[in-house]
């Protein structure tokens, strides 16, 4: 069991690091693009395309991590009027819906990846699928977080880092 937890945490850390590195990468690529354009009047032909690709990956990964960190909140003014049990059941239903959403990303994302395999991105000539394959991958992560939350396991890893505080 301990071993499984270790592996899970490792995968999760790699996933998060990849997202953070993408963000830094995006800053660097765009800065390079500005520099080459302003100083040498040329732009690497792949830069905009790679930027968009990295952005799609970064965005999807950020969304998945948001589920882990419980960032995607709802409005609880109405549900506060109800009993604790009602809210506990509701928590489970919400976790199940998050799982279903993750599953949707896996299934449809995979279909889409296959569908787009034949078409190419204009500059790099990579298959268009490289964008869409981020969907099933983040889908798997979201499913994982949802299952843990379903079993009342706290998935937040950055409790200490409140936004801007």
């Amino acid at each position: 069991m301990k071993f499984i937890i270790k592996i899970g945490k490792f995968i999760d850390s790699v996933f998060e690091k990849f997202a953070l590195v993408s963000l830094v990468g995006l800053v660097l690529i765009v800065t390079t693009q500005v520099m080459t354009r302003k100083l040498f009047n040329f732009v690497f032909f792949w830069s905009e395309e790679v930027t968009l690709l990295l952005l799609a990956w970064f965005a999807l990964m950020a969304i998945a991590i948001g589920f882990r960190e419980n960032i995607h909140l709802g409005i609880d003014s109405f549900t506060n009027l109800f009993s604790k049990i009602f809210n506990k059941v509701l928590d489970k239903i919400i976790s199940l819906s998050i799982f279903a959403f993750g599953l949707y990303l896996v299934v449809q994302g995979w279909d889409f990846t296959v569908l787009m395999f034949d078409s190419t991105l204009p500059a790099t000539k990579l298959p268009s699928s490289v964008t869409y394959i981020a969907m099933p991958i983040t889908g798997v992560m979201i499913c994982g977080y949802a299952v843990l939350q379903l079993f009342n396991i706290n998935t937040t890893r950055h409790k200490d880092i409140e936004e801007g505080m």
Partner: protein
């Protein structure tokens, strides 16, 4: 009933039901879109496709860049240098620290667009300072949160970028120009309100900045403001796109904070990146989900119906604008900034353009409305954070915020009904 009407009912009722059951807003948008799409027999995959498409935009990238710059500025000690500058400029007025607070908020300007980051960075410097000087806690909180709202309208602001995307590519440069005059009016309104209360309660001027320090306060204040200047200058001069300016500002504020000031150790970069990731996560999920929701709205031709509905109520633009403002203020109570912009823009923009309102003008009106929503209960993120920092209850905070809230309402009416206030600068730019 025809298929379209039933589909619209399914879409709206599932949305309301899930929102009431505290489902995350973005997830609600996706689930109600999915249910509708299934009912219509449209392939499910289109929702995923729209989500990905929603994030496939170069201008969207400006948002994480602005947020990251804002985080570096507050973590790296740039925020308190800006406060010092504001103290130098307006500290000697009665109730000086309140003025400092307003000006610092305007300067810090919420590049991040997350007014929450603004209130917590400026607020965590200002509120304790004000309390120490004998200002009541509730007043300190009221001034801080109202001032933070300036940042959403005053450029650079990631919310304006968000609106530009939601409105189908309204010029970011024009929006930034358009935010300047309303920002100044807001500052005047807030400072006047703060001054009146300060007189009534007998608050004093702030301690003067020692003569010997004036030079360095000026220098570092201006240096700390320069990331915002890069973004603004770059965009308004047409030299850089918003995204490019954002990337440059990230790099520049990084060098300033970690190369020159070194208030924070380099390892705090991890914390900065994760905080950025958290805010971006929320905003991006909303963008992706709103893209899917917006698509199904367009597919069902809802915006056209809403326009017809408004025009059937009244054909007087002034009346329609009043209704829209009231609607937005009511929606702003429970809704946060980003969902408000992303959900309401595709629905309301066709209404106002039908009587010739400029999308740039409407953008500023919408965003000020959404900004006011941030300080109104029951869901007011800025209000909550401000109260947490100032250690006052939500009730106290709300009461203290009220005079400023009224001041902001007056500003809202001015910018709604006097288009020149908003459009004067962007029209100059166009010429």
């Amino acid at each position: 009933m025809d298929t379209n009407t039933i589909a619209i009912i399914i879409l709206i009722s599932s949305f309301i039901l899930l929102i009431l059951l505290r489902f995350p807003i973005a997830l609600t948008l996706i689930i109600s879109s999915l249910v509708t799409v299934i009912y219509l027999g449209v392939p499910w995959a289109v929702i995923g496709q729209q989500m990905t498409q929603g994030m496939n935009s170069f201008s969207l990238l400006a948002i994480p860049f602005f947020i990251l710059t804002g985080q570096i500025m507050s973590e790296g000690g740039l925020a308190h240098r800006i406060v010092n500058l504001a103290r130098l400029l307006v500290g000697r007025v009665r109730g000086g620290l309140a003025m400092v607070n307003s000006v610092a908020s305007l300067f810090f300007g919420n590049i991040s667009g997350s007014a929450v980051a603004d209130v917590s960075s400026v607020g965590s410097v200002m509120i304790p300072m004000m309390k120490k000087q004998g200002y009541e806690a509730d007043y300190s909180v009221g001034v801080t949160i109202a001032s933070a709202i300036q940042g959403v309208v005053v450029p650079p602001s990631h919310n304006l970028v968000l609106y530009s995307l939601a409105a189908g590519g309204v010029s970011i440069a024009s929006l930034f120009m358009a935010g300047i005059v309303p920002g100044v009016i807001m500052l005047i309104a807030l400072m006047t309100t703060a001054y009146i209360i300060a007189r009534k309660r007998g608050y004093q001027k702030a301690e003067p900045v020692p003569k010997a320090e004036i030079g360095s306060v000026l220098l570092h204040g201006i240096l700390s403001l320069s990331p915002a200047v890069i973004i603004l200058g770059g965009i308004l001069s047409g030299w850089f796109t918003a995204t490019e300016s954002g990337a440059l500002a990230c790099l520049y504020s990084f060098i300033l904070a970690f190369g020159i000031y070194r208030d924070a150790p380099l390892r705090s970069l991890g914390k900065i990146l994760i905080r950025t990731l958290r805010t971006v996560s929320m905003v991006f999920f909303l963008i992706a989900a709103s893209a899917a929701f917006g698509w199904i709205l367009a597919y069902l031709q809802v915006p056209a119906m809403v326009t017809d509905l408004f025009l059937s109520v009244s054909d007087n633009p002034l009346v329609i604008l009043l209704i829209i403002n009231i609607l937005l203020l009511l929606l702003g109570a429970p809704m946060d900034m980003a969902p408000m912009i992303l959900i309401m823009t595709p629905i309301l923009l066709p209404v106002v353009t039908s009587f010739g309102m400029d999308p740039v003008h409407f953008g500023i009106v919408l965003i000020l409305n959404a900004g006011i929503g941030l300080i109104t209960p029951p869901v007011g993120t800025v209000l909550f954070v401000g109260c947490a920092i100032g250690k006052v209850s939500i009730q106290q905070g709300t009461k203290a915020m009220l005079p400023f809230f009224y001041a902001l309402l007056i500003v809202l009416l001015i910018i709604t009904y006097i288009p020149e206030v908003v459009m004067w600068l962007p029209n100059m730019l166009a010429k």
